[in-house]
Assembly symmetry: D2
Homo-oligomer: 260 residues x 4
C-alpha cells in the first residue's frame, strides 16, 4: 500500500528563541513530531515552517500532502491570508488536517470552523488526564481508558467550537477544569482532528501515548475518496437532465460564468 504523505507544519519560533524550550525540543517541535510519526512505516513525512517562502506550503507541497499537522502559537498573525485560503481549499478537496494545542487560535482552524475557538487557560505545569470517549474509535486504538501527562498547560471550557462530529477525548485537569481535548469535524472531503496537548514548555511530544494518538490520527485523517475539485458549473438548458425550455428574462448571458 502506498505510504500516507504527511507534512508537519511548525511555527518554529519559541524553540529557537527560548533557551529552556530549545532544550526540550532541540530539533524543533516539528522535528520531535516527525520522529514520533516515523516510528510507523505507514508515513512519508516532510516538514514546513513559518520562515520558509510561502511558509513551506506551496501549491506543489499541498497537492502532494495527504495529512497536514499544524502547530503554531505566538505568530498566528504572521501567517499570510493567501496561504490560509490555500490550506482551506486543500482541506475541502480532501486533505486531512490535525490541529495541535495552541493551533486552536490559528487562522486556518478559525477559518474552517467559523467560530471564536476561544477557551480559558493556565500555564502551571499541572496534571492532565485525557479520557477516551469512544474506545472503538481508530484515533484511540491501543490506549487504555485514559492516559496522563504529568505537566501540561490547562485549557478549559467553554471551548468556542461548533459541535464536533465525534468526541474522542475529554481532559480532566488537576486545577479543576475540563476540556474537549480531542474532537473531529469534516469540511468538504477533508477530515479535521483537533488534539489539545502540546504546550511548548513541556516535553509532551516525547510522550508515547501522544505519539500513538498522532500516528492513529494521521492514518484516520488520510483521504478515503477521490479529490473534490471545487467548481460551480453552469448547466445550460440543453444539458438539463429533463427537457425544458427557457422562460422569462435572464441576467446571465449564455456561457457566462457565475458571480463569485
Amino acid at each position: 500500500m502506498a505510504k500516507i504523505s504527511v507534512t508537519v507544519w511548525g511555527e518554529n519560533v519559541h524553540e529557537r528563541k527560548v533557551e529552556f524550550i530549545r532544550k526540550i525540543y532541540p530539533s524543533g517541535m516539528h522535528g520531535c513530531i516527525v520522529e514520533g510519526l516515523q516510528e510507523s512505516s505507514d508515513f512519508s513525512v516532510g516538514t514546513a515552517t513559518l520562515e520558509q517562502p510561502e511558509h513551506g506550503l506551496t501549491e506543489k507541497v499541498l497537492a502532494a500532502t495527504d495529512v497536514l499537522l499544524w502547530w503554531g502559537h505566538c505568530a498566528h498573525g504572521d501567517v499570510q491570508d493567501a496561504i490560509v485560503e490555500r490550506v482551506v481549499k486543500r482541506v475541502n478537496e480532501g486533505m486531512g488536517l490535525i490541529v495541535l494545542h495552541s493551533g486552536h487560535y490559528s487562522k486556518v482552524f478559525k477559518r474552517l470552523l467559523g467560530t471564536t475557538c476561544s477557551l480559558t487557560w493556565r500555564e502551571a505545569g499541572e496534571k492532565e488526564r485525557l479520557w477516551v470517549c469512544n474506545p472503538a474509535h481508530p484515533i484511540a486504538a491501543g490506549l487504555g481508558p485514559y492516559f496522563e501527562l504529568a505537566e501540561e498547560e490547562m485549557y478549559g471550557e467553554p471551548f468556542g467550537i461548533p459541535t464536533p462530529d465525534e468526541q474522542i477525548f475529554i481532559s480532566w485537569f488537576e486545577g479543576g477544569e475540563v476540556f474537549r481535548s480531542g474532537a473531529t469535524w469534516k469540511r468538504g472531503a477533508g477530515k479535521i482532528f483537533y488534539f489539545r496537548p502540546g504546550h511548548e514548555s513541556y516535553p509532551t511530544y516525547h510522550d508515547s501515548n501522544v505519539k500513538l494518538v498522532l500516528k492513529n490520527a494521521a492514518r484516520w485523517a488520510a483521504p478515503e475518496g477521490p479529490r473534490w475539485i471545487d467548481e460551480a458549473p453552469n448547466i445550460p438548458v440543453d444539458k438539463a437532465p429533463e427537457r425544458i425550455e427557457l422562460k422569462g428574462q435572464t441576467l446571465h448571458k449564455a456561457g457566462e460564468a457565475g458571480f463569485k
Copy 2:
C-alpha cells in the same frame, strides 16, 4: 414582548442597473423583503446596503440587530473583510443570520461554514418545488407539504456545505435537479438559516410562501439566550477551582494575555 430587531442587508446593484429587475423590485430587493417582514408586528425592521459607509453595518447597527438577512450576488468581492469579520463575530455572540439565494457565495457565509459553498446552476425560469422535510419545524409553520415557484433559477447538488444541523427544505427542479434549499447551522450562540430561492430575475420575494418562510425564520433565528462575549481568560494558579501549585518553567509571565 419586545420586537425582534431585524436588519435586511441588500447588495442593491442589479435592481438599480438592470431595467427589467428594477421593474420587478422598484424599491430594491431589500425593500421587498422588508415589506414581507412588516406583515408581522413581531419585527422592527431596518435596512443596510453595500454602498453605505461600512456597508451600513456599523458596530452600533450590528449590536442592536437580533437577526440579519443577507442578499448579495454580483458584488461579493466588494464587501470589506473587516465588515465580514464583524458580522462573523456578532453571529458568534448570538445574532441570527439568514442567508438568501446567491448569498451562498458571500464572504460571510463561506467564512462561517468553512466550505466552498459551491453548487451547479441554470438560469432558465424553470419551476421549483420546495418540499418540507420536517413539518413540525417552526420555519415551516403554516406551509403545506410543499410549495412551488413558477419561475426560478436552478441550483443543484452537490452543494459544498458542512452537514446541516437540520434539513428544512429540499427542492425539485423541472430540469431534473435537486437541492438542499433550506438548512440550519449554529456558530457560537448564533443560528444560521440558508434559504435558496430569490434570483433577481424573478418576483420571488413577492411570493406569499416565501414571505411566510422569512417571517418564520426571523422568529426562529432570534437569540434565545444571553450574548456570548468572546474572551480567552487566563485563570491564574490562585484562582483555580482546586488548590494547585505552580510546577515547571513558564513561557507566559503572570498577568500576560495569551497569543492570538
Copy 3:
C-alpha cells in the same frame, strides 16, 4: 402566554423503601423536582409514577404534556414496553423529554438514542463540578462558568451515546473522571435533554443551581412548532405533483396501505 404543561415521572421506589432516602426526599424525588419547577409561574406541573395504572402515562396525559421529566433507577425493567413506545411516539410528535441521572439506562432513553448509554460509576459522595460549555445556551442561563455539588455519585466516560447536537455541561469529579453531563438531541419534532446529577443518596434536587437548570431546560424543551403526526401516506398516480402514467407491474393494489 399559555403555561408549559410539564409532567414529572418518578419511579418512586427507593424513596419509599429506603429510610435514609425518604429523609432526603419526604415527598418523593418527583415531589422535590415538582417543587423546584413551581418556583416559576411558567409551568403547570403534574406527576406520574411507576405504580400507577399505565405508569400514570395514559394517552390523555401524554397528549396534554409539553415536557416530560424522567427519573428512574432500580425498576427500569418494570416499565411496560407499550408505554415506552407511547412516550417515544409522543416525543417524535414534539413533546420535550428531560432524562435525569440514572435515567440514562431507562428503556425510553435507550430506545430514542439507539446506543448502549453505558458509563462507569462510583457511589462515594465525591465532589462534582459542572462546567458550562456554551454560556449563551438558554439551558445555562443564569449560571456562572461552573457550579458544584458537594456530594454526588460519579459517572465517567465513555458514555455510550450518539454525538449530541449540543454539549451543555461537562463534569469534573474529585476522583479523577469526566463526563458529558448535559447534552441535547432531537428525535422527530421532540427535543431531548439529558442531565446527569441526581443520585438518590444525595440532596441534589434541593440544590438551587440544579433547580435553575431544570426550569431552563423545561422552557427550552417545550414544543416550538406544530405537532408532527406520524403517517406514511400513499400518493396515488393521479395525485402526483407532476403528471405521470403508471408503468410496470405493481405489488400494492390501489388504495392499499403500505407494510409496517
Copy 4:
C-alpha cells in the same frame, strides 16, 4: 488484507410467493445482492433469511459479520424482538449496517434511529434520478454526478429520520417528489448507511450503479477500530484515579452491579 465478512439478510417472502417478482429475482433478492457484492474480491459473503432459526442471525453469525445488509418489507412484524436487540448490540460494537429500501420500516432501523422513519410513497414505475451530494465520499466513488433508475417506487419527504451525519444521495422523482436516498449515521462504533432504491417490483439490484454503491458502502461500513464491548463498570473508591475517601451514605453495596 483480510476479506470483509458480509451477511446479506433477506426477508425472502415476496420473491417466493409472487410470480412476477420471482421472475425478476429467481435466486431471491438477497441472492441478487450477493451476486453484486461478489463482483469484488474484497468480500466474503453469506446470507441469512427470515424463515431460518433465529432468522439466520445467531450470535455466532453476527459475531463473525463485519457488515450486515438488511432487506425486508411485508414481514417486519415477524422479526423477533430478541434478534432485533442482538443486531442493535452488534452494531454498537462496531458491525456496519446497510439498510435497504423498505427496510426503513424494519424494527432494526427504527430501533437504532429512534424516530418514526415514515415517508410518502407511490408504486408507479416512475423514473428516479439519484444525485450525489458529496462526490468525494467513498460510497459515491466511481459514480458520475447522478445515476438513474428507469422504473422505481417513489419515496418522498418528509422522511422521519434524525439529521444524518452525512448526506450522500438525494433523489428526484418523475412524479415531482424528492427524497434523502442515501444517508449515514453512527451508533456506538457501528456505521449505518441507508440506501433507498430496491422495490421488489423492479430489477433494481441488477443495476450496475446500484451494485457499485453497495460494494462501496460495504467497504465503507466495515469496522475501522476495535470492538466496543458494552459494560458499565463500577470503579471503587480505591481504584479512582485520584485519591478520595468515601463520604455520605450509599445505596449500593461494595462490589454490587448497577441497576439496568
